[in-house]
Structures are given as C-alpha cells and as structure tokens.
C-alpha cells in the first residue's frame, strides 16, 4: 500500500520477526513490536511497510544515511509520534493504552542532543531520570540518590556529582545523559547515537554497558553511524536507504557491502581482521 517505495522493499526479504524466531529469547514476550510500519514526513515516505519484533536480550541497530529517518523511526518506536501506517506495541500493548509514567518506567529514550539553557548540577540532571518512579509530591529518596550515583559510576563520572552541566565537555555531557537514562532504569533502551561526542574508549565502554544490559534481559534499539560498531554489537539491523527502502534482518544478512553501498550511495568494502569486521569506504 506504500507507493513509490524503492526496489529494495521486496516482500521476500527477511523480516526481523522471522530472523528472530529461532534466536535466543524467542519464547519470551517481546518488549517491542511493530507491524506494517510506514512513516511519512510531509510528502516524503521515510520507510515502507516493515515489521519488527524485539525480545529481551536483543540489540537492534538502525543504520542509514543522514536524513533517512532513523531518528523519526526511533521516536515512533518510543511512542512519541504516531506511525503513518501500522502499529507499534510495547510489551504487547499499543502506546495508547499505556499511561505516560508507566511507559516511562518501561522504555527510556536517549535523545540525540542535550539542550541545556540553565545551570544545574550533574547529580540533579541524573536525578531527573527518576521522575517516572516518583509520585506527584514525591522527592528523590535515598534509593533514587543511590541509583543516580551508581549510574554516574557506570559511565565513569563518579565524583562529578556537584559539577555544573554547563561546564562539561561534549563527551562528559553525553555520559551524564546516559547516566540519567540508566537511573530511569527502563526494560527497553532506545538510543539515538549513544556514541555522540564520545572518545574511542568511551564509545566501546558505553556500547559494552548496553550489551551487558541486553544480556541481563533488557532490550536495546540504537541509531549508529559506525558500521564496524554496528557489526560488533548488533543482533539485528534495520537499514534505511533514504529513499523509502528498508532492509531489515539479522546482522549478517543486512551488513552486506552491496546493500550498504547502495544505501549510503558510496562504495563500501567489507574487511575481516582478527575475527572482527570492518567496513571501509572506497
């Protein structure tokens, strides 16, 4: 029913639901499902109909060129905008049936940018993540402070609690945002470019952190730009080509040089070294 979709929108291509059926966690109730999802912004279709099913323990990476609609798709999966076509379900329930605070305890979103206009301490900023766990008149208690401090320690910012967020470097600010998300403690993490502003060490550390959370039964969906990191951390990949075409499936079925080259409109070579996969632009 989507017109003008690209040639890649082949109905025979693997869907995540199929790819995932045999994988670990397939028997568990899915954390996130999308059926026949299609998104349109203005007159432009960002992705044609596709479906996905994400169970506990799984990591899904969204890839695609600039402006392809990765963030729009992520926000749709977070329930912050309605899909043009199709349905999104969180733990089997459409977002419309979730109370906003209840949904915020189940899924958390890391935004691509952290707009700061007023000074605030690092600890206060991380404690904002506890908001959905507190009642209308509640104040952050000892356990909320403990959660916030543990989250800061997890991203290597222990001891920075009293710093003003306006004085932080870009990478430190990004890790504060990640700590706030960890303090929120959702089952499902939706991450928009979590490695933004991070140096090499923290890119790996942060992705390892979310990989560990996935192994512990959380779900992770993230937008990445680095194909090698996607190859290293993804179980499933959704590749948007910027022309409405979507390729969704298991990691190795999607991270193929010919598919990537077409989506990014640039020749890309796949290199294996010491068991790791690298992608090199020609």
């Amino acid at each position: 029913m989507i017109h003008g979709a690209s040639p890649q929108s082949d109905p025979a291509q693997p869907r995540l639901a199929d790819a995932q059926a045999s994988g670990a966690g397939g028997a568990d109730e899915p954390l996130l499902e999308a059926d026949g999802l299609a998104l349109r912004v203005g007159e432009r279709w960002l992705c044609c109909e596709f479906s996905l099913r994400l169970g506990p323990g799984e990591c899904l990476v969204l890839l695609g060129p600039n402006g392809a609609g990765k963030t729009t798709l992520l926000h749709t999966l977070a329930g912050l905008r309605a899909p043009t076509v199709g349905a999104v379900r969180l733990a089997g329930k459409p977002y419309a049936q979730w109370e906003a605070g209840e949904a915020a305890r189940f899924r958390g979103l890391l935004g691509q940018q952290q707009p700061d206009h007023f000074s605030s301490t690092v600890l206060e900023t991380v404690l904002v993540g506890r908001h959905p766990h507190l009642g209308r008149w509640g104040w952050e208690g000892a356990e909320d402070h403990a959660a916030a401090r543990a989250a800061l320690a997890a991203v290597g910012l222990a001891g920075m609690e009293a710093r003003d967020i306006l004085t932080l470097s870009g990478g430190e600010r990004q890790r504060v945002a990640i700590a706030a998300l960890l303090a929120q403690a959702p089952r499902l993490f939706l991450l928009d470019e979590p490695t933004n502003h991070l140096d090499l060490r923290y890119q790996i550390a942060v992705l390892e952190l979310f990989a560990r959370l996935a192994r512990e039964g959380h779900g992770v969906v993230m937008v990445l730009h680095d194909l090698a990191l996607a190859a290293r951390f993804a179980d499933h990949v959704i590749l948007l080509d910027g022309r409405g075409g979507v390729t969704a499936g298991a990691r190795d079925a999607v991270l193929r040089p010919e598919l990537l080259s077409r989506a990014f409109d640039h020749p890309i070579r796949r290199i294996e070294a010491d068991g790791n996969v690298l992608f090199m632009p020609e």
């Binding site: 926000h75 977070a78 912050l80 109370e99 906003a100 605070g101 209840e102 949904a103 915020a104 305890r105 958390g108 979103l109 935004g111 940018q113 952290q114 707009p115 700061d116 206009h117 007023f118 000074s119 605030s120 301490t121 206060e124 900023t125 904002v128 993540g129 908001h131 959905p132 507190l134 209308r136 008149w137 509640g138 104040w139 952050e140 208690g141 000892a142 402070h145 003003d164 306006l166 004085t167 929120q184």
Partner: protein
C-alpha cells in the same frame, strides 16, 4: 532524601521572615512614623486615631499590593523562563504588558475613572495574550521560538501605539501616563483579588513543580519521561499570562522584577523548580515592597516611580552575584 524537603522548608521560612520584615517596614515608614507597638495595635488591636487609619487604609493596601505584584511578576518570570527555555524571558516578553499599557493609556487619554483604567489595562493584557496565543498556535504546532517571536512582535507593535499615544497626550495627563508605564503603586487600593489569584495560581502550579524540572531538560526528554508536555505548557502560559495581567493592572508595568528575581534566586538556591518557584514568589514580593517603600520615603514628599527603584536595588545585587559565579551560570 528528607534533607531536600527540610532545605525547602528552611528557605521558605527564612524568606517568609524577611518578607514580614519588609512589610513591617513598609507599614511603619513614611511621613507619619509609627512605632512597632503602635503598628501591632493598629493591625491586630482596636487602636484608634490617625496613625491607625493611615496604616489600615493607606499603607496596608499599598504594601499588600506591591508585595503581591512582586510575587506575581517573579513567579511569572520563573514560569516563562521554563516555558520558553530562555534565560532572557520575562513576564513582559510576550507582549502582555504592552497590551495592558495600550489599554490603560487609552483609558487615561480618554479621561476615564481609575477603576476603568484598571479594567482597560486588564482587558488589554488579555487581548494581547489571546492574540499571541492564537497566532503562535495557528497551525497546531507550538514551538517556543514561534511563541517568542510572535510575542516580541506583538510587544513591539504595542510599543509603537504607546509612543503614539504619549506623543498625542496633553501635558496635563502626560505625567500620570509616564508613571503608569514605569510602575506606580500609589493608586493601588484593592489588592485582595490579586492576592487570591496569586495563592490560587501557586497552588495550581506547585503539584507540577517536578514536571517543570523535567521540561527544563527539553521537550523530547520530558515526553519520554512521561510528562504531558502540551497540558503543562498550557498551564504555564495561562498562569504566567494571568499573573502578569493582574500585576500590571495593579501597579503598572514595573520592570526588572520578573527577569532578575528568578535569576537571583537561582544563584542562591539552585534550579530545582520545587524550591525556585516559592522562593522567587517571596523574594519578588520582598524586593518590590522594599523598593516601593524606598520610592515613597527617600525623597519624600516626592514619590519616585517604583520601577526605577527596583532597577537601582536589583542591578548592583545582580551584578555582584554574577561576578561571584564562574562562566556559564546564566545559561548558554
């Protein structure tokens, strides 16, 4: 931790004491000085005589009016800064005071009675509020940039009309019009409805104080954390506008309080809105009470416009606090 609640209680009690001292000064200072004992007698006892009359019928309504106006403006400023996520936002930035001034000055130009001037000011403020809201909300989307731009343009339009009216005004009316524009509490005799608005509005916004903290982190983060952003914005816009309209109607467009008091308070107590909003309310009331008392006593019998005094007290205090803080404290 309970220490947070205790800290809030400490700050509020401390500011309440300072507020009461400021009001006591406002009631006792003037060309009929009143001793503390007589002040208590006039307020709570059945003291008779000129002093008691002066306190009950002149100084008390005026002190309440300026305190309430200061509280309204500072609270409106704090809410506007969260709504527009802009440290430079103040209660007047969206054109509400401009609309009120157009209404009030037109009524003065026509020679209407003072209560009609008040009515015209309030009607002007509400008109400006509805116009800005209608235009900014026209296509259903509602970004703070669009709201800010619409408000600034409406304010500029009002400014042109005000200048035109001042140019056309006869000399006999010019001084009272200029005093109204600078803020003038000498005619404020019925402050009690404004006090009711302040208390009701405060009670309405405090349950959402932690939501304001979340909204300050950005709209997307707030929505992802379960804050109903649309509803919260309507509440903020409606309350801040109403507070501004009521204050401007009561004492004219007193400048400075709504912009600077939230920042002053933020320097001292931090940016947790659960503490900031009540602290700004009390600090704004205190600043305006002190400024108004100074305005009518320092050069007595000449009465200065209170807006001049708020700036003269606030600017040095603000610059002093700013200089003690490292870079970045004022925001981007």
């Amino acid at each position: 931790m309970m220490t947070d609640r205790r800290r809030l209680l400490g700050i509020v009690i401390g500011l309440l004491c300072i507020s009461l001292l400021a009001i006591a000064w406002a009631l006792s200072a003037g060309n009929v000085p009143v001793s503390p004992a007589k002040l208590v007698g006039a307020l709570f006892g059945s003291a008779e005589g000129m002093e008691a009359d002066v306190i009950r019928h002149l100084r008390l309504p005026r002190a309440v009016a300026v305190f309430v106006s200061g509280g309204l403006l500072a609270t409106a400023g704090a809410l506007m800064q969260v709504l527009l996520r802009n440290p430079l936002a103040d209660p007047y930035v969206l054109g509400i005071s401009g609309g009120a001034a157009v209404g009030a000055l037109a009524a003065m130009l026509a020679g209407l009675a003072p209560w009609l001037v008040d009515g015209a000011a309030f009607a002007g403020a509400l008109t400006a509020m509805l116009v800005v809201f209608g235009l900014a909300h026209g296509d259903g989307s509602w970004t703070q940039t669009r709201l800010l731009l619409t408000g600034v343009i409406v304010a500029a339009g009002c400014g042109a009309v005000i200048t035109l009216m001042l140019a056309l005004a006869p000399d006999t009316r010019l001084q009272s019009m200029l005093f109204w524009l600078m803020g003038d509490a000498s005619g404020a005799s019925r402050p009690w409805p404004a006090l009711a608005v302040l208390i009701a509005g405060f009670a309405l916004v405090m349950p959402f104080a932690r939501d304001l903290n979340v909204l300050a982190r950005g709209e997307l983060a707030a929505r992802a954390l379960g804050v109903r952003v649309e509803r919260l914005r309507y509440l903020l816009y409606g309350l801040a506008s109403l507070f501004t309209a009521v204050s401007v109607t009561l004492v004219g467009s007193v400048g400075f309080v709504g912009l600077v008091v939230p920042h002053l308070v933020r320097f001292v107590v931090g940016n947790d809105q659960r503490v900031l909003v009540p602290a700004a309310l009390l600090a704004g009331g205190t600043l305006l009470t002190v400024a108004d008392t100074a305005a009518r006593t320092v050069m007595a019998p000449v009465q200065l416009p209170v807006g001049v005094l708020t700036a003269m007290i606030g600017v040095p205090v603000f610059l002093f606090l700013l200089s003690r803080h490292p870079r970045g404290t004022m925001g981007a």
